[in-house]
């Protein structure tokens, strides 16, 4: 019952939160002393061109009307036309979504795969040499700048060892899109060359994203396990003669994962909203690279669209995280 209440409550807040976000970004975009029509028309535009475009894109209307129109458009999934590319922003973001999703899933998978077991082991071997070494690695992983790590990985694995591609998502343009996920599409058409190419292109950007994410997961898992491992129920289970590995991996871990799951949710949200730097350095054609290009081109409409996307992603991720909490710890939904 409590789970349903959480979902309804979160959904109820979704619309006002997005509207609030829209008001903020719309206001900011109109405070900046620039004219999107001049950007759209280019350096050499004539006054006639400016007037025509102002009318075409509705910039000739009063601000409140412009905002209401923008609200209506966003409600129907229309984020407007990019003032630089002159293409629909929703269509562009939708087109780029599979690339970002594919990289996100790979990076989150890697970070969870290594982060949780290492976090548990670190807690079990508290203050051992393993724990100290892992602490150094995780602190380094959190501190390292992603663009620096990305370039170092490129130098080492692409340039010096020549074992991984330098950039891009696949050699050439990849298979004709079915789902847009190259790994899945390659399997669907059983194109092993494309599959190998897609996976090899994914390795370096996924590692770059996964390292700091895994470090976060290790730290939170370790702290969670240390807190739970001294609980009375663990003492009771040991007294009952339940095998130690079973206690740790089934009972302790489940209770220790609450804060880790929250972190995984946030990491997922950050990656989904565009791993801006990593996508740019690795020339990964996702939403993050689109955001960078939009910022470089001062494409305010696209930047607004990206901001809405980011806001929506975090709201959804928070909702999923809350639901996950109730599944992991049924007490929270009672």
């Amino acid at each position: 019952m409590r789970r349903l209440e959480i979902i309804v409550s979160r959904l109820a807040w979704f619309v006002p939160t997005i509207v609030g976000l829209l008001i903020i970004i719309f206001t900011i975009s109109h405070i900046i002393p620039t004219d999107p029509v001049r950007v759209l028309a280019g350096d050499n535009a004539t006054q006639e061109q400016l007037d025509a475009l102002r009318k075409e894109y509705g910039y000739d209307k009063p601000l409140p009307i412009q905002f209401i129109n923008y609200l209506k458009d966003v409600a129907t999934g229309n984020l407007g036309i990019s003032i630089f590319t002159k293409r629909p922003i929703s269509e562009t973001m939708w087109h780029r979504l599979p690339a970002t999703l594919e990289l996100t899933f790979a990076a989150v998978f890697l970070s969870v795969l290594f982060g949780i077991p290492l976090g548990v082991l670190s807690a079990l071997k508290r203050n051992s040499l393993f724990d100290h070494v892992l602490r150094v690695i995780t602190v380094s992983g959190l501190a390292v700048a992603s663009f620096w790590l990305a370039m170092e990985l490129q130098f080492l694995f692409s340039m010096n060892l020549a074992v991984a591609p330098l950039n891009g998502r696949i050699s050439g343009f990849g298979p004709d899109p079915i789902t847009g996920f190259f790994v899945i599409d390659s399997l669907l058409i059983w194109d092993m060359e494309s599959l190998r190419s897609a996976l090899s292109h994914m390795i370096l950007p996924a590692i770059t994203l996964a390292l700091p994410a895994a470090a976060t997961i290790v730290r939170f898992t370790r702290a969670g396990v240390l807190e739970v491992i001294n609980s009375n129920f663990v003492l009771y289970e040991r007294a009952m003669g339940i095998p130690w590995p079973l206690i740790v991996w089934k009972y302790v871990l489940r209770n220790a994962l609450i804060s880790t799951v929250t972190q995984i949710g946030l990491i997922f949200g950050v990656f989904l909203s565009g791993a801006v730097v990593v996508e740019t350095v690795f020339d990964w054609p996702g939403i993050g690279a689109y955001a960078v290009n939009s910022i470089l081109q001062s494409d305010y409409k696209a930047i607004m669209g990206f901001t809405i996307w980011t806001g929506a992603i975090f709201l959804i991720v928070n909702l999923i995280t809350d639901i996950a909490h109730t599944l992991i710890d049924p007490r929270s939904s009672q």
Binding site: I32, P33, T34, D35, P36, R38, V39, L40, A41, G42, D43, N44, A45, T46, Q47, E48, Q49, L50, A52, L53, S82, F84, T85, K86, R87, T92, H95, R96, A99, M151, Q154, F155, S158, M159, A162, P165, L166, N167, G168, R169, G172, F173, T280, V281, F282, D283, P285, G286, A289, Y290, V292, N293, L296, S298
Partner: protein
């Protein structure tokens, strides 16, 4: 009517290039671009960053090649112009095929011009002021007439930008009167050198050689060209060093050029471009409306220090508004030199009350910030206070186009939109371009008389003289601080030959290139 000898030039050009439709071709050229190919419509995009799709997929009536740029006949064989300069008749080449096999005719040219004028985007800028919708006529199947509202000598140099689309195909794909914009943003309907093979707005495009192109092909021309978007400079450079790509943009930072020069598998092709760096000065606002203050500031800029030390000699001194490598430049004008004594002498003659001068620089473009700081330091030595404010280009641009909001000075570049002195001195200082392009708010009837006359006469030597005279006055008036003309350093794989750099398109016209 004046007959232009373009037909002979066309034959000579084709013969000189050794082109043959039956020639063999080979390989795939891969280029990494620093800007996205997110729209393929030749009438919607018009910036240098996306020039490759316009040049390689589409043909114009004429075409720019080489440096200094030469205009060669392309879809049109020749043209005539009436004595009053209003009616321009172009004779089209016969038998030119679109990619779908249909023949290109004068109707396609008319449709392309009407489409540009209706869309009012990108290249329409060049034509809206001089051609009204509905006035372009197909005289017969292979003759088209452009009727201008007023005489315009500049029209001639903008003809290569009239890129022709397949009108029947585009019309079939029009939706809700959009002139086929949605469809043409991701498709190609042209006669151009390459057909569209793959396109992903997030990645780039692949073009396949159009075997039936009217101009034929060289013996070693590429079979395919691939242009990919790679935003990160370091990744483009590494890709070239590794051999993943064969070429990238020619305006890389000098430290990256130096790095590439050391690689045996990379060549750097160096050319003087047509991109003038200067300070736009607000000539109408006190105290900068005083010519002596403007001259004092011109003497206070350390040109050698900036060009040779800060920019490591990667540019060439340009003393006036028109690029050195174009006609219309008064060769006897040496421009200002860094001389603080002369600056002080000029400053002593200033009658206007002094106040701090505000320079607006372009955020993210460090050269503009360095130039402003250099001038600020020198000006302080002679008692002029300068404040430097930085803002993104759209903000600076918006302020520049309003006389009351324009900064006192803005360091920036004037790029090539068409190869004619009017692109520089005309638009920068002609009163007809106030306030959108003449952001210096310079109003000099003597200069304006010459610029206006140069727009109307078609005789080249007369125009050359008029632009030279106007240039002398502008420099003497110190209407701007003219610093340098950009050099282009094209980085290509060592095995690439046949790159023909032209300031229009920055060497991205790939039909001439080949693997050695």
């Amino acid at each position: 009517m004046t007959k232009h000898p373009f037909r002979l030039i066309a034959l000579a050009a084709v013969a000189a290039l050794g082109l043959s439709g039956a020639a063999l071709a080979q390989g795939k050229y891969v280029h990494a671009n620093n800007s996205g190919y997110d729209n393929l419509d030749p009438h919607a995009v018009f910036d240098v960053g996306r020039a490759a799709s316009r040049i390689n997929f589409y043909d114009g009536l004429y075409r720019w090649v080489d440096n200094p740029p030469k205009m060669i006949p392309w879809l049109a064989e020749s043209h005539t112009v009436t004595e009053d300069g209003l009616s321009w008749t172009f004779k089209l080449r016969q038998g030119v095929k679109f990619h779908d096999g249909t023949e290109m005719t004068a109707d396609d040219v008319v449709y392309s011009m009407e489409r540009m004028l209706a869309m009012k985007k990108g290249p329409a800028t060049l034509f809206m002021a001089i051609i009204d919708p509905g006035t372009t006529k197909a005289k017969d199947r292979h003759t088209v007439v452009f009727n201008l509202k007023e005489p315009s000598a500049v029209f001639h140099s903008t003809v290569p930008e009239i890129l022709i689309v397949n009108s029947k195909l585009v019309k079939q794909n029009e939706k809700d009167g959009d002139w086929g914009q949605a469809w043409l943003s991701k498709n190609v309907a042209s006669t151009g050198s390459y057909t569209l093979r793959r396109y992903d707005p997030a990645v780039g495009f692949v073009g396949a050689r159009f075997k039936d192109h009217f101009a034929g092909w060289g013996a070693k021309s590429f079979d395919e060209i691939e242009f990919r978007t790679v935003l990160e400079t370091n990744t483009r450079v590494l890709g070239l060093l590794k051999g993943d790509i064969h070429g990238t943009d020619g305006y890389l930072p000098q430290d990256q050029i130096a790095r590439l020069r050391q690689a045996s598998n990379v060549q750097i092709i160096e050319q003087e471009s047509m991109r003038v760096f200067y300070f736009a000065v607000h000539n109408s606002r006190p105290p900068l409306n005083d010519v002596h203050l403007r001259r004092a500031l011109s003497y206070a800029f350390d040109y050698d220090g900036f060009n040779n030390d800060l920019l490591k000699g990667a540019v060439s001194r340009n003393a006036g508004p028109v690029p050195n490598n174009l006609w219309g430049v008064p060769k006897d004008v040496k421009g200002y030199t860094y001389d603080l004594e002369k600056a002080k002498a000029e400053l002593a003659k200033v009658k206007e009350p002094m106040r701090p001068i505000v320079i607006g620089t372009l955020a993210g473009f460090s050269e503009t910030e360095q130039a402003a700081t250099l001038l600020q330091n020198a000006a302080r030595k002679i008692g002029i206070e300068i404040k430097v404010e930085s803002a993104p280009w759209p903000v600076v641009q918006s302020r520049m186009q309003k006389e009351d909001q324009m900064y006192d000075m803005v360091p920036l570049w004037k790029s090539t939109y068409y190869v004619d002195p009017n692109n520089w001195i005309g638009e920068m200082y002609g009163m007809r371009y106030l306030p959108l392009r003449n952001n210096s708010y310079y109003r000099n009837p003597e200069v304006d008389k010459r610029l206006e006359q140069a727009l109307k006469v078609t005789d080249q030597s007369t125009r050359d003289r008029l632009y030279q005279e106007a240039g002398r006055i502008v420099v003497d008036d110190a209407a701007g601080i003219f610093v340098y003309n950009t050099k282009w350093f094209g980085p290509y794989a060592a095995n690439i030959g046949g790159i023909r750099f032209c300031p229009i398109g920055n060497a991205q016209d790939m039909r001439w290139a080949y693997f050695k």
